[in-house]
């Protein structure tokens, strides 16, 4: 199945899909946050699709895109026909709510925890949405592009050690 056929099949089923892209031959599509689980379920179950492997799930922060600053990216792989697809969901940073993919892909569990840990995306329906890599006491989301390169408020740095005391 080519990207064009895949695109036709998907847009017939989900007319709300937008921002189709084919950079480096990888079909990429944007889905509204309310519909992401439905789309993932369809991609998983439909006999023509069979995207049953979640290669990666991560977040991106676009500070300049007002109202849709945070993005969640799913990389899916059809291992039978060896086709890949990339699904993107955009949410505002003020209310970063995305439905969890764990009902479809159990492997999404830790990846969503990581995405929550670094980008603060609130995965609705996740069984255990807690920090996975950073310390539990951390009260910010470090991969968001909202911090200066060198944070002057940090107290844990010993400037003497870096020759700038």
């Amino acid at each position: 199945m080519t990207n064009e056929q895949l695109k036709e099949l998907l847009s017939a089923k989900f007319p709300e899909l937008s921002e189709w892209d084919e950079s480096y031959g990888l079909l990429s599509v944007r889905v509204p946050a309310a519909k992401n689980l439905e789309l993932l379920q369809f991609l998983y179950n439909d006999p023509a699709m069979q995207f049953q492997f979640l290669t990666d799930l991560t977040g991106i922060h676009y500070p300049d895109r007002a109202g849709e600053e945070l993005c969640v990216v799913y990389h899916l792989h059809n291992l039978v026909a060896n086709i890949r697809i990339r699904v993107k969901v955009y949410v505002p940073v003020a209310a970063p709510d995305v439905y969890s993919a764990t009902p479809v892909f159990s492997g999404a569990n830790w990846m969503e925890r990581e995405t929550y840990d670094f980008f603060g995306i609130n995965f609705i329906g996740h069984p255990n949405l807690t920090r996975i890599l950073n310390v539990d006491e951390m009260d910010y989301f470090p991969m968001r592009k909202e911090y200066p390169m060198e944070d002057p408020t940090r107290t844990d740095k010993d400037d003497e050690m870096f020759g700038r005391g």
Binding site: N134, V135, D151, R154, D156, D158, M161
Partner: protein, 189 residues
């Protein structure tokens, strides 16, 4: 006919000097400080806490070429209960800090710590939110070995520096107000 065991006069092995004391025929009197310090210094039991590339250099240090065993640290113990020299070799993430601290707390007195390499000493190049900026933020450190990573010679030098500290340390130092003050700074009783 030679004796079955001969004293090799050409040996380059340097024996530890006899500590200062008063000796006469058949006896020698000296201070516990010196004898016990000498014994401790030449039988430090290393506990490697290796998390990254400095750990590889430490492995070379323990290996045949550099052979830390020459200085009495023959056997690594992988339990804090038996060891008295904690060698922290590598980047310590903030999430690892409580574990490192627990390992230190489980060691019995007397205990010494060597921070091997830039990361353990200061956070190194990882001037970043998840990395502890030097293990001396959570446990007291006796010797810092610079380098990224330090060569095995550097680690050996660090161990020798520590031996110096151990040799000349008063047995009562660990009961001193200064030492107790140091530990209480770290919240350790």
């Amino acid at each position: 006919m030679g004796r079955p065991v001969q004293y090799n006069e050409n040996s380059k092995v340097i024996l530890a000097d006899i500590p200062e004391g008063y000796s006469g025929e058949g006896f020698m009197a000296t201070k516990f400080d010196q004898v016990i310090g000498l014994a401790r210094a030449n039988s430090l039991w290393p506990l490697p806490f290796a998390t990254s590339c400095c750990g590889i250099e430490f492995m070379a240090t323990m290996g045949a070429n550099y052979d830390l065993a020459r200085f009495g640290s023959e056997r690594m113990g992988f339990t804090p209960r038996q060891c008295d020299m904690l060698l922290v070799a590598g980047t310590i993430a903030k999430k690892m800090a409580p574990i490192l601290r627990q390992v230190y707390l489980q060691m019995a007195e007397p205990r010494w710590v060597i921070a091997i390499g830039a990361c353990a000493s200061s956070g190194g190049i990882f001037d970043s939110y998840p990395v502890l900026q030097g293990i001396d933020q959570v446990i007291p450190v006796d010797v810092y070995v610079p380098g990224c990573p330090p060569r095995p010679e550097g680690i050996l030098d660090g161990v020798l520096k520590l031996q110096d500290i151990v040799k000349h340390e008063s047995l009562r130092r660990r009961h001193s107000e200064q030492y107790k003050g140091l530990l209480s700074e770290y919240g350790i009783q």
